[in-house]
């Protein structure tokens, strides 16, 4: 590749980058369908690209969702319920232009994610490593004494700990206690 070709490639890359940045700033992020929300999440914001002369009719169906603010505009907030599951077409918006002509309904499926962690312990400081189990599986555990999604009482040491299970931006916690082991005195000889 000669200098001229290099220059063309660089120019193409630069233009592509500018276009990508412009697109992101113009249209914001793109949500993958289905969208995932945490159980009992509040104030979740949904939006479409705004056309100033248009009005927007939103409908929330299933998932215990209730529309809180923004009906009529291009951006709303929703509070979701606590029942985990996939809710097809949970968010719908129909845009109407200045002539009051409706567009095609735009739909979004929503998966309400309710995380939980199986309780463990209490432990003694010298107890062996115990696997941490979260529901649904596939998340990540974090906290003091957590190594590779398992709890090591020996690493944590004596104390009370809060361990966090995380998945798709949602979190849940469990409390774990590590107690002192019995302190045995020296062997005496009567």
């Amino acid at each position: 590749m000669n200098y001229k070709e290099n220059k063309q490639v660089l120019l193409t890359l630069f233009i592509t980058m500018i276009m990508m940045v412009t697109t992101i700033f113009t249209y914001g992020q793109t949500t993958i369908n289905p969208d995932t929300v945490c159980a009992n999440a509040t104030g979740e914001q949904y939006f479409v690209t705004n056309t100033p002369t248009s009005t927007y009719q939103w409908t929330i169906t299933g998932g215990g969702g209730t529309l809180q603010t923004g009906q009529g505009s291009n951006s709303i907030t929703v509070d979701w319920g606590g029942v985990s599951g996939l809710y097809p077409n949970a968010v719908e918006v129909i845009e109407s232009n200045a002539a009051n002509c409706p567009g095609t309904p735009i739909l979004l499926d929503v998966f309400v994610l309710d995380l939980s962690g199986n309780p463990i312990g209490p432990f003694c400081a010298g107890d062996p490593t115990t696997p941490l189990v979260g529901n649904p599986v596939g998340g990540t555990w974090s906290g003091t004494g957590v190594v590779a999604n398992a709890f090591q009482p020996s690493s944590a040491g004596v104390g009370n700990y809060v361990l966090t299970y995380s998945m798709a931006g949602c979190n849940t916690t469990i409390n774990v206690v590590v107690n002192n082991g019995p302190v045995t005195g020296p062997i005496q000889h009567y």
Partner: protein, 186 residues
């Protein structure tokens, strides 16, 4: 003999086609296609009206598709060398013979009601129409029809009944529906 044959041929050709209108023209401002809310000004000219068998012109009817609204007259046709009277803008009129006319201009003869005008034109008129609010591709047809004694019943020997409607515009409302982006979640 040849002269007689020629006269007979001319006579039969006239009575066979029986069209009294000729040299029709129009302008549309702006030109189509049209969207809801567009206001369109129509200029229409009938260059010449030749009333066969003393058939006089009576009316210009504007035929509009359902997509139009707010029909408004702007310039009334002239009456060059015609009978005494005036062109009246009318949304609907039933002639004594039962023929329903309208909307458009009809000539009111000041001397003998029901005679129309003896003018041969040219007749130039202007009106405006507005595309009605709609979300469906409604018909926007515009045509002009010229009526005369034969149609209105003002003269039994009239012979201009087959003058066809003159097509000015034949289209549909260009419906603009919004194109919405995907739903995004912050």
């Amino acid at each position: 003999m040849r002269k007689l044959l020629t006269i007979l041929l001319v006579f039969f050709s006239i009575t066979t086609y029986s069209q009294c209108v000729s040299n029709q023209s129009f302008t549309l401002t702006p030109p189509g296609p049209y969207q809801p809310g567009d206001v369109v000004v129509v200029n229409y000219t009938l260059g010449n009206f030749t009333g066969i068998n003393v058939n006089w012109i009576h009316a210009f009817q504007i035929n509009l598709g359902v997509g139009w609204t707010n029909l408004t007259p702007i310039i009334t046709p002239g009456n060059p060398f015609g009978s005494t009277g005036n062109w009246l803008w009318d949304l609907q009129n039933t002639y004594p013979g039962g023929f329903n006319f309208g909307p458009g201009w009809r000539f009111v003869n000041a001397g003998t009601a029901g005679w129309g005008t003896s003018s041969n034109g040219p007749f130039t008129m202007r009106f405006s129409v507005t595309v009605a609010p709609t979300c469906t591709p409604d018909n926007l047809n515009i045509s002009m029809e010229v009526f005369d004694d034969c149609v209105t019943g003002g003269w039994a020997n009239g012979n201009c009944c087959s003058d066809p409607a003159f097509q000015i515009y034949n289209g549909n409302v260009q419906v603009v529906t919004p194109i919405t982006s995907n739903i995004n979640h912050y």
